[in-house]
Symmetry: C2
Subunit: 346 residues, 2 copies
Amino acid sequence: MTRQPKRSNSTRIDRSPLSERQIIQKLRRVGALRHSTAGLRVGIGDDAALFVPRLGFQTVLTCDWFLEGTHFLRDKHPPDSVGWKCLARAVSDIAAMGGAPRCFLLSLALPPSHVGAWLDEFLSGLRRAQRRLGCVLAGGDTTTSDRILIQVTVVGEVRSGKAVLRSGAKPGDAVFVSGRLGEAELGLRLLRSRKRIDRADPRLRKHLYPEPQLRLGLWLAQKRLATAMMDLSDGLSTDLARLCAASRVGARIEAGRVPLPFHDSIEQNRERQIEPLHLPLHGGDDYELLFTVSATNLRRVPKSFGGVRLTQIGVITRERTLHLLAADGSKKDLVPGGWDPFRAAR
Amino acid sequence: MTRQPKRSNSTRIDRSPLSERQIIQKLRRVGALRHSTAGLRVGIGDDAALFVPRLGFQTVLTCDWFLEGTHFLRDKHPPDSVGWKCLARAVSDIAAMGGAPRCFLLSLALPPSHVGAWLDEFLSGLRRAQRRLGCVLAGGDTTTSDRILIQVTVVGEVRSGKAVLRSGAKPGDAVFVSGRLGEAELGLRLLRSRKRIDRADPRLRKHLYPEPQLRLGLWLAQKRLATAMMDLSDGLSTDLARLCAASRVGARIEAGRVPLPFHDSIEQNRERQIEPLHLPLHGGDDYELLFTVSATNLRRVPKSFGGVRLTQIGVITRERTLHLLAADGSKKDLVPGGWDPFRAAR
């Protein structure tokens, strides 16, 4: 409301800049999808959205920043990947509670140069994610900025009493991860090293278009198989430390069991001088699930679920430390080496 | 997750920068208040917050940007005002639906220089607003940025079927506003013209510490008095146009009835060469309520409610135009002149 002139990107000013109302109309077309199935009585266009909660369910609330320069690069990331990913990564938090997403709010600040073609491509990726994840745009806020600022809030639901928290892991529980770890970080490294990007390159898929493990999270919660659960967004070493801190336990991880990236080989890593386990242990953005299962339920966990591998990588310990066991039996501390924006900024 | 070095404010680097986890601990102390009364089963610290909706209520969802340079000025606005206002203005949207706020999510991106004293003062203002508005911090997301970026999502509740939308105004309905208009804009102008700021200056109160009209909104909804309602955030001329567009009607406003700022006089405005009605018609940030009442219910609207004046300023018309009637009976178009960030940026 302060109305001082904004610094705008002067190199690519759109020839026909749109007003806020026109941008909201573009967003309204995205939100027009399946209001009733999402439980929405009022969506975009009023002071607030109205959501009708289902009987017997609790509401799951989560939000995520997605900022140019911090979470994506304007010149590297295709706009439709930005649209897809800003929603997918927030929905991943709902999956990690064992819930299902219902609707979301989008806060968008754009340079005037980006309300044309860039916004259209962004919304196309967002629309695809919305359909895929069953999560409808219910409202938001738009303004200008010289950098692209995105914030997504997702509203989901979980059957009362079925939510899986980070705090339920017990000593002796097995530690599982879904999928393969480090592929997203590998994709980011490829993306940054290339001048031209092939969106269809399978090695970039996990970084550009991550798929939150919604069905797996829901299943683990409904079957009461997971004693604790969270999604892997900042790297296994960092996120496991969080789960253990919340549960007041420790963990021992077997290095040889950690599932490595598919689209890579130890040779390629050697060429790039990356220690083979570095990406799987510390790479962020995988959006796989990390969960624990009690010894008595261990045999009920399948080898894979809906095509996604489930791997036991270690065990929860009473001693509140994180250890990594090598193949030769040697043991070392697993030090959180994942993403902390405040450490990175120093 | 891209990890390139951030540009940080190099002039005021905090001596003891805090990690993300430490910032979350500061936020957790804010959120520790009254979890159960807010309907929260899980707050800050897990993948998502868990909110238990009340039977017979619908969920109201709204979000607002609050960005340095766009919505506040780092060097002018006291941090505790930033904390108060970022929550108060989002809660105002809940008031405008006739709902009550329950909890909120805070997305915060701060320069490393601002995670010490600035953050503490900000949180003190936020905590005061939280107590005053009955709205508890349930979660959020934190990261770094060279500018202060704030986004607030508020979750409220409204009794099923009682929400008041923008779209219900009918020709012949009376148009009302609460309080006085233009005071916040006047406060902003004072703030910008001063080197030193006296937070206690009553002329700055409405701009620095706005109070959303929660009790009034709730009462108008429960008594089914308002046929349409919204909050005045971007100026009467802009917001009235939105209400009329949603209701597919027009309006005729009587210039002489528009409530002028209390802390000003026509003489002062003359000195500043501001047309007396300019601020009340086009000034933003008032967070008063704009609502319409059918002719049959007109006598049920009191002159004031809880110390806040309620003023009939005009009438809804079938003709879909906005007119301003002067004291001499002359009529002119009321052109939306309020805040549109995309127009302002051109």
